[in-house]
C-alpha cells in the first residue's frame, strides 16, 4: 500500500506534467530563433524526460518510515 505522502507527491507530479505539456507553458517554448525550427518539440522531449526521471526517482525509492 502506498504511503499517503507518496500518493500526494505522485499527484503533484501528475499535475506538474499536465502543466508542462499544455498551453500556456508550451507557448513559451514555441518560438524560433532567426528562421530555424521552433523549440517546441525539443522542449517537449526534455520536459517529458524530466517528468519520467522524477517519477522513477519517486517510485523506486524505498518507502520511508
Amino acid at each position: 500500500m502506498l504511503k499517503s505522502r507518496r500518493v500526494q507527491r505522485l499527484l503533484a507530479l501528475v499535475i506538474l506534467a499536465a502543466l508542462l505539456f499544455t498551453p500556456p507553458l508550451i507557448l513559451l517554448a514555441d518560438q524560433s530563433v532567426d528562421g530555424s525550427f521552433s523549440w517546441l518539440a525539443a522542449y517537449l522531449f526534455v520536459s517529458w524526460a524530466f517528468v519520467i526521471g522524477l517519477a522513477a526517482w519517486l517510485l523506486e525509492r524505498r518507502p520511508e518510515e
Binding site: M1, L2, V7, L10, L11, L13, V14, A17, A18, F21, T22, P23, I26, L27, D30, S32, G35, S36, F37, S38, L40, A41, L44, F45, W48, A49, V51, I52, A55, A56, L59, E60
Partner: protein, 942 residues
C-alpha cells in the same frame, strides 16, 4: 517474385515464432513458473498501445501536423503516471470480482446490468472496427510499398474483388492465428499468459526496428543530427513544420487531443485487457508507471528526424505514412526495409491480437451469452456442456471482428490517413471514460445515467465523426457536410450549433463528452439506484482497503448439488471440481476429495447439503470469470432462493472487516512496543546487576586495602605493648612503621572521600586562571627529591615560557604529582627514567609523562582508570619486589575526574620517546585576555 517469397517466408516465420513463444508461455504458466511475472514484461505488454499507427502514422502526422503526434503519447504518460492511483484501484476491483473486460467492469459497477454490458460491447465493436481496419491497411500498404517500390501503391484494392485483395487474406490468416492463440483453453476465464509473452516480444521487436531505421536515417542518409537539421532548416517549406501553428486547432486542439489520448488509454479495450485483466501482480504497476512512459519517449525520439528526412529526400510526392519504409528502400537497403516491415507487422499484429481477444470476450460474454440465456427458456433448456459452446462463440466472434475490420478497410478505409482513423476510434472509446472514471470515485453515479450518457455521446460522435466519414467516402451526399442535415446550417457536422474554428476531433470530443457527462450526472442526481447497484457502487468506490475481500453477498439457500450442476454446465467438470474443492470448509474437505476421486456427479456425497454463502459467492465469481458478471448473476439467481444482501449489510460487513484489520494492526503495534520495552528493561536490569557486582568488588577491595595497613599497625602496636624490654632503637623503628601506616591509612581514606565526592559531583573545584609552567615546576619540586632518592632519573622538557589555563591549582598540582609518581612506579627496574614534557597542542596545553617500563597493552588502557585497577595488577605482577611504595589504585581515577571537571582530557598512549607508556593530560588554553586577570589574581602561595 523471389522477393515476394522472401517477404512471405519472413512474415510467416515471424508469426510462427510468436506462436511458439505463446505456447511456451502458456506451458510455463501451467507449470506455475510464469514468464510474465516481471514489471518489465508487464511494461512491454502495455506497449501494445503503440500500433502500426505509431510505427507508420507518427511520421506521417509529424510531417503534416508538426509536434502534435507527441500528444498521442503524452496523454498516456499522464495516465500511466497516475496509474498507482487509478489503475491500481481498477486492478483490485477486477481481481476481487473476477472481471474480464471493460464492458464487464462497467456492467458490474452499475449493478451487474446486462443491458449496460451489451451497450459497452456494441460501442466498442463499432468504435474499434476502424482501428482494426487501420492495422490491416497498414500491413497491406507496407507490403505493397515493399514490393512495388518505387511505384506508389495503387488505389482501392477492393475494385479487383476481395479474393485477390491481400488484406482479406491478411485478415483471414490473423483470424486463424488468434483463434489458435487466444482461445486455446477450455477454461476461458484464465489469463492469456502466452499471449502476453508474445506481445512483450513484439513490443521489443517494433522498438528495435524503429530505432534502427531512425539511426540509419540520421547517420547513414545524413551525417548526423546536426547535418539533418541544418539542411532541413534551410528548406523553406519546412520552416514552420515544428511549431504549434502546424497543429490543427491550435492551442485548444492541442489540449483536447491530449485529453483524448489520456482518456482513451484507460478505455481502449486492449489497454484494459493488458493493464487490468492480464496483470499478474499489482506491484508491477509501480515500475511500469515510469518505464512505460520511457518506452513511449524512446520510440518517439526518431520520429521527427525521419519525418524531416523524408520530406527533404522524397519531396511532396512520397506518402509520409510510409517514409520509414521508403527511406531505406531509396538507399537500396532491402534487408533493412524487410526488418522495418517485420517491425510494422509486430506493431499491427500485436494490436489486432489483443484487441480481438478483448472484443471477442465482450461479444461472447456481454452480447451472445445473455441473449442465449434469455431465449432458451432459462438455463434448463440447454443440456450439453456449455463450456465448449463458449469457446465456439468466442472463435466466431474473432472471425466476425476481423471480417468487420476488413470490410471497413475495403469500403471506406482508403479515404483516411492512418492517424485519422485512429483518432476516430479514440473518440469513440473515450465515451466509456465518464462511466468508468466517475463510477470509480462517485458512489452516486447510476446505471441509467451511464447507459444513456454513453448513448448520447455515441450519437454525437456518429454525427460529427462517423457520418462525415461516410460522406467523404461518397456514401452520403457531400452537401450533408457543407450545408448540414436538411440544409440547416446549425446542424453542420463539423460546426455543430455554429461552433466553428476547432479541428474536427476537438469539436467532436467537446460535444460528445458534454452530452455524455451531462446525461450521466443529471440522471444520477435525479434517479434512484436499486439495491444491487448501490452495493456494487459502494464496493467499487471504496475498494481501497487492502486485504478486505468482497464479502459474500448471498443470504439465500440452495443445495451443493444444484450449484455443482450449474457450474459443470458452464465451466466443465475439472474447473467445477476445483472451484468446489477450494471453498469447502476444512471439515468436509476430505469428503470432497473422495468425491473428486470417485468422479463428481454422484449426488450421494453431500450434494443435498445446503451450500454456504461463501460457496455461493465463489461459484458466482467463477461464473463471472467465464461469462461476465451480469450472466453469472442471472444464473445464480436461477438456483438460489432468497435475497442478496442489501447495501447496508454489505457496508457493515466491510466496515467490520476493516475495523478488525485496524484493530489487529493496533494490537500488533502494541505488542511490538511491549517487546521493545521488555528489551529495554532487560538492558537496564543487566546494567544494574553489573553495577551491583562492581559495588561488591569495590567494597571487597576497600576492606582489603584498609585491612593491610590496619593489620600491620595492630601487629606492631601489640609487639610494643607486650615486649616492654625492647631496645630503644627497635621501638623507635616500630613506632615509625605505625606512624607511616597510619598516614597511609588516612591518605587512603582521604582519597576515597575525594573519589566519592567526584563521583557524586560534590567535589567543588575553584577554577581561576593559572599558569601551567609554574604549576608544573611546583609539582616537580614536590616529588623530585623522593623520586630521585629511589634512583629514578627525571628528565624535563618545557618548551613554553608560559601557558595559561583555567583550573583549580591545588587539585591540578595533585594530578601532576600523582602522574609523575605513577610513572616513576612503572618505570623499568634497572635504570628507570621518567620524561615530562609540557607543550602547546592545537589550542590546548598538553602535559605528557612517559616512562621506560613495559607499557600498557591497548586493551588495558581504559582499565587503568578504573578504581583499584593497578592495585590488582601491581600485587600480582611485581608485588613489592622493587621496594617502591604502593599506591592505593585510586590515583588515576581521581586524576581523571579532576581533569575532566576542569574541561580537559586524560588518557594513555604509547610513549613516543621512551619504551613504556605515556600518560597525557590536555587542558584547553585560557583566552588571551584572561592573562590580564591573572596579574590581578596571583597564584596562591605554596
Amino acid at each position: 517474385m523471389g522477393a515476394e517469397v522472401g517477404v512471405f517466408v519472413a512474415a510467416f516465420g515471424y508469426l510462427a515464432l510468436l506462436f511458439v513463444i505463446a505456447a511456451w508461455g502458456d506451458r510455463r504458466a501451467e507449470q506455475g513458473r510464469s514468464v510474465i511475472a516481471s514489471p518489465l514484461v508487464y511494461t512491454l505488454s502495455i506497449a501494445v498501445y503503440c500500433t502500426a499507427w505509431t510505427f507508420y502514422g507518427s511520421v506521417g502526422r509529424a510531417a503534416e501536423a508538426g509536434p502534435s503526434f507527441l500528444l498521442i503519447y503524452l496523454g498516456p504518460t499522464l495516465a500511466m503516471l497516475s496509474g498507482p492511483l487509478v489503475i491500481r484501484k481498477m486492478i483490485r476491483i477486477a481481481r476481487a470480482q473476477r472481471i474480464t473486460s471493460i464492458a464487464d467492469f462497467i456492467s458490474a459497477r452499475y449493478g451487474k446490468s446486462s443491458r449496460l454490458g451489451a451497450l459497452v460491447a456494441l460501442i466498442a465493436l463499432i468504435g474499434i472496427t476502424p482501428y482494426i481496419a487501420l492495422q490491416l491497411k497498414a500491413i497491406t500498404l507496407s507490403h505493397a510499398v515493399l514490393m512495388d517500390y518505387p511505384v506508389a501503391p495503387g488505389g482501392p484494392a477492393s475494385t479487383a474483388g476481395f479474393l485477390s485483395d491481400k488484406s482479406f487474406w491478411v485478415a483471414l490468416v490473423l483470424a486463424v492465428f488468434i483463434m489458435l492463440f487466444g482461445t486455446r483453453h477450455l477454461d476461458a476465464s484464465e489469463r492469456h499468459e502466452g499471449m502476453v509473452a508474445a506481445i512483450a516480444v513484439e513490443s521489443l521487436v517494433k522498438l528495435i526496428a524503429f530505432l534502427t531505421v531512425g539511426l540509419f536515417t540520421v547517420f547513414v542518409l545524413f551525417e548526423g543530427p546536426v547535418d539533418l537539421f541544418t539542411r532541413a532548416a534551410s528548406h523553406p517549406p519546412l520552416q514552420n513544420a515544428l511549431s504549434l501553428s502546424a497543429v490543427p486547432g491550435g492551442a485548444l486542439g492541442w489540449v483536447s487531443t491530449l485529453l483524448l489520448a489520456f482518456l482513451a488509454f484507460f478505455t481502449l479495450p486492449r489497454q484494459f485487457q493488458v493493464l487490468v485483466v492480464e496483470n499478474v501482480d499489482e506491484r508491477h504497476l509501480t515500475r511500469a508507471s515510469w518505464l512505460f512512459p520511457l518506452y513511449l519517449l524512446v520510440i518517439n525520439v526518431m520520429v521527427i528526424p525521419i519525418a524531416l528526412a523524408g520530406l527533404l529526400l522524397m519531396g511532396s510526392d512520397g506518402d509520409p505514412d510510409s517514409f520509414v519504409l521508403t527511406l531505406p528502400l531509396s538507399a537500396g537497403r532491402e534487408g533493412l526495409s524487410l526488418f522495418v516491415f517485420i517491425g510494422g507487422l509486430s506493431a499491427a499484429t500485436g494490436m489486432v491480437i489483443v484487441e480481438t481477444i478483448a472484443l471477442s470476450t465482450m461479444v461472447s460474454n456481454q452480447l451472445v451469452m445473455p441473449l442465449l440465456l434469455r431465449t432458451t427458456k432459462r438455463y434448463q433448456g440447454l443440456h450439453s456442456d456449455l463450456s465448449v459452446w463458449l469457446l465456439g462463440i468466442r472463435r466466431g466472434a474473432i472471425a466476425l471482428i476481423l471480417m468487420m475490420g476488413y470490410l471497413y478497410h475495403a469500403l471506406i478505409g482508403d479515404s483516411y490517413s492512418l492517424v485519422t482513423i485512429g483518432l476516430v476510434s479514440f473518440a469513440a472509446v473515450s465515451q466509456f471514460a465518464p462511466a468508468l472514471l466517475l463510477g470509480l470515485y462517485w458512489r452516486g453515479a447510476c446505471g441509467l445515467g451511464a447507459g444513456l450518457g454513453m448513448l448520447a455521446g455515441m450519437a454525437v460522435w456518429s454525427y460529427t465523426l462517423l457520418l462525415p466519414g461516410f460522406a467523404q467516402s461518397g456514401w452520403l451526399p457531400l452537401s450533408f457536410l457543407e450545408e448540414g442535415l436538411f440544409g440547416l446550417a446549425w446542424l453542420r457536422p463539423y460546426a455543430l450549433f455554429g461552433l466553428d474554428g476547432l479541428d474536427i476531433y476537438s469539436h467532436s470530443l467537446l460535444w460528445s463528452l458534454m452530452a455524455n457527462i451531462g446525461v450521466l450526472v443529471g440522471l444520477s442526481l435525479f434517479t434512484r439506484q436499486n439495491h444491487l447497484e448501490q452495493t456494487q457502487a459502494a464496493l467499487f468506490a471504496d475498494a481501497r482497503t487492502e486485504g478486505v475481500d468482497t464479502p459474500p453477498l448471498w443470504q439465500g439457500q440452495t443445495t451443493r448439488g444444484a450449484l455443482h450442476d450449474l457450474l459443470r454446465r458452464y465451466l466443465g467438470t475439472a474447473s467445477t471440481a476445483r472451484v468446489l474443492a477450494t471453498v469447502d470448509a476444512p471439515h468436509d474437505r476430505g469428503r470432497i476429495e473422495i468425491s473428486t476421486a470417485a468422479g463428481i456427479g454422484s449426488p450421494e456425497n453431500g450434494m443435498e447439503e445446503s451450500a454456504s454463502p461463501q460457496l455461493i459467492a465463489r461459484a458466482e465469481q467463477a461464473l463471472a470469470g467465464a461469462l461476465g458478471s451480469a450472466s453469472a448473476r442471472l444464473l445464480i439467481t436461477s438456483v438460489v432462493r432468497g435475497e442478496a444482501l442489501d447495501m447496508e449489510a454489505v457496508l457493515s460487513i466491510l466496515d467490520t472487516t476493516s475495523q478488525t484489520l485496524e484493530y489487529n494492526r493496533r494490537l500488533e503495534q502494541k505488542s511490538r512496543e511491549l517487546a521493545r520495552i521488555g528489551e529495554e528493561l532487560r538492558g537496564a536490569n543487566e546494567r544494574l546487576r553489573e553495577l551491583d557486582r562492581l559495588k561488591d568488588e569495590f567494597v571487597a577491595m576497600v576492606s582489603h586495602e584498609l585491612r593491610t595497613p590496619l593489620t600491620s599497625i595492630r601487629a606492631f602496636a601489640e609487639i610494643l605493648r607486650d615486649s616492654r624490654d625492647m631496645p630503644e632503637a627497635k621501638r623507635t623503628q616500630f613506632l615509625e612503621v605505625v606512624v607511616l601506616e597510619s598516614q597511609r591509612l588516612s591518605r587512603l581514606i582521604e582519597e576515597m572521600l575525594d573519589l566519592a565526592r567526584l563521583e557524586s559531583g560534590r567535589l567543588t573545584l575553584q577554577p581561576h586562571p593559572l599558569e601551567m609552567v609554574a604549576l608544573t615546576r611546583q609539582g616537580l619540586a614536590a616529588v623530585q627529591h623522593p623520586i630521585e632518592e629511589r634512583g629514578v632519573k627525571l628528565k624535563v622538557t618545557i618548551d613554553l615560557d608560559e601557558a595559561w589555563v583555567i583550573g583549580d591549582s591545588d587539585r591540578l598540582e595533585q594530578v601532576i604529582i600523582n602522574l609523575i609518581d605513577n610513572a616513576a612506579k612503572f618505570a623499568a627496574d634497572t635504570s628507570p627514567v621518567v620524561l615530562l614534557r609540557l607543550a602547546r597542542h592545537q589550542g590546548h596545553v598538553r602535559l605528557s609523562i612517559e616512562d621506560n617500563g613495559r607499557g600498557i597493552a591497548p586493551a588495558d588502557r581504559e582499565r587503568v582508570f578504573e578504581k583499584f585497577h593497578q592495585l590488582e595488577q601491581h600485587s600480582t605482577a611485581s608485588g613489592q619486589s622493587r621496594g617502591r611504595p604502593r599506591g592505593s589504585g585510586l590515583g588515576l581515577p581521581i586524576s581523571r575526574g579532576i581533569v575532566v571537571q576542569s574541561g580537559g582530557r586524560l588518557w594513555v598512549e604509547d610513549a613516543t620517546t621512551l619504551s613504556g607508556a605515556s600518560l597525557i593530560m590536555e587542558l584547553p588554553e585560557a583566552p588571551q585576555d584572561k592573562t590580564m586577570l591573572a596579574t590581578e589574581t596571583p597564584l596562591p602561595p605554596d
